[in-house]
Symmetry: C2
Subunit: 254 residues, 2 copies
DNA sequence: ACTTGTCATGTTGTACGATGAGCATACATC
DNA sequence: GATGTATGCTCATCGTACAACATGACAAGT
């Protein structure tokens, strides 16, 4: 019996990356955050002074200050020079996040696409009400850029996004622009999955079908028909969603 | 002519809270963040050393360290003692935030409501496709709770939200639930403005009108009609938006 | 009585020096 | 080639000092 084969250090469980240790700043952030979210430190209330926290936690002022800077960046705390640090009044207003880890699952991608559908349908309706002539021109240019990309045998990913972005801009509502930018971070995995499952000839036909849908969306916006724009955008995004729903179902069967 | 009446300091425009100055840490955070989100500092790439940044920006190491702590808290940067600070690999996947400061403006409230419209319209359509019998029951109970609150002379704020929340749950998509929770943080100012501008008798009539709209939404969902659900929800939220658009226009004229 | 000015005290913001801890690389040894 | 050691670099923490800001108390003026 070889000794090395029974050593626990040779098992796969041990041979994985070592997690870096937490530093003191992280520890202080977590403690203060727990006090805030746990309700012991109410919105608007004043945190202990730096000196008091130093004494109570046994760390230097640097660690306290860096922790407060971190909490400030997270929007949990406001500081006023000469006065003190305070729990932010709107502390419960946390950001909306999509965990990138969940985007590895096709089912989760579909969920995000459903959310996107709602936002983009409403954007199309608002754009039809509000788009200026230059903004309509921009959409038209974006459509032409998609055409050119398809002719070159490319997938028109960036150009596709630019078209949708132009619609968001035409809403004259910065929240739509920002939300689409936010969602833009999560579009890439979708595109790569598309590339992986479509043959070149079928892919071009597919892209041209999508471009037809784009044309219908644009026509409704150009002609100032919000209802038509919504319907066209909804149909366009519904088709993409169905494709991914089918993929998700196939993978679930494996 | 009294001198004080012509002094510019007596006008309402000057007599508002003075914005505290940005500190150096904030300045450094914004600069580094711009480099990261602007693409000059790629995910995984190493930031300049603390000494280099001190020299380049003309600030002390304290300011640099506090800025890096803030960026770390926002997930943009990872630090390794002895090695350096690095742009986080998944840096482009940022949270979606609504700045609470902007919610003091009625125009911005309308923007957020427009975004919410898109999400809730799609949620209503999906709920009509997917709601189970218990979930429909939950919506029905929520409607009854609104009725009871109105009869008591209350504004049914929480009950109203519960009805919309039940719809989001019936989508079987956690992103809708999470987004509505996220938006829930911003609903309160809307409710308070509503209270300030409606007389008691008109308010009850208004709430009953809204409840009629809720009934139409619920009927479409219960009967499994996604198109009708979307139209009813859109009409419901459009009316709220128009009210606030009118308020914003009135305030702009003052 | 009310308003303005001054001063003392407290608190955050910034800067700097020092030491320790962790990491990567270079070089020596086997 | 593998292992051990030394060195230099960089972040983490601590401590001191001064600047800037804010608040409250008290005095002086009207």
């Amino acid at each position: 019996m070889d000794e090395r084969e029974s050593s626990p250090l040779v098992t796969l469980d041990a041979l994985r990356p070592v997690t870096p240790p937490r530093n003191l700043t992280r520890e202080v952030v977590d403690r203060l955050q727990a006090e805030i979210t746990g309700g012991n430190l109410k919105p608007g209330s004043r945190l202990p002074t730096e000196q008091a926290m130093m004494a109570a936690m046994g760390v230097s002022r640097t660690v306290i200050r860096e922790a407060v800077a971190a909490l400030r960046a997270e929007g949990l705390v406001l500081t006023r020079q000469g006065v003190g640090a305070f729990v932010a009044p709107d502390v419960l207003q946390r950001p909306f996040r999509i965990d990138p880890e969940t985007m590895g699952s096709l089912g989760e991608i579909v969920h995000v696409m459903e959310l996107r559908t709602g936002v983009e349908v409403e954007a199309a309706g608002l754009a039809a009400e509000r788009a200026s002539a230059p903004e309509k021109k921009r959409m038209e240019h974006a459509l032409k850029a998609i055409d050119r990309s398809i002719k070159r045998g490319e997938q028109a990913v960036d150009q596709d996004f630019a078209f949708h972005f132009a619609i968001a801009e035409a809403t004259h509502n910065p929240q739509f622009i920002r939300f689409l930018e936010f969602l833009g971070s999560f579009i890439i995995p979708r595109q790569s999955v598309r590339a992986a499952h479509t043959e070149p000839a079928g892919q071009r036909s597919y892209l041209e079908t999508i471009q037809g849908e784009h044309d219908r969306i644009f026509a409704a916006i150009r002609d100032g028909k919000p209802g038509d724009a919504r319907i066209a955008m909804h149909a366009h995004l519904m088709r993409s969603r169905e494709r991914y729903s089918r993929l998700a179902a196939e993978l679930a069967r494996r």
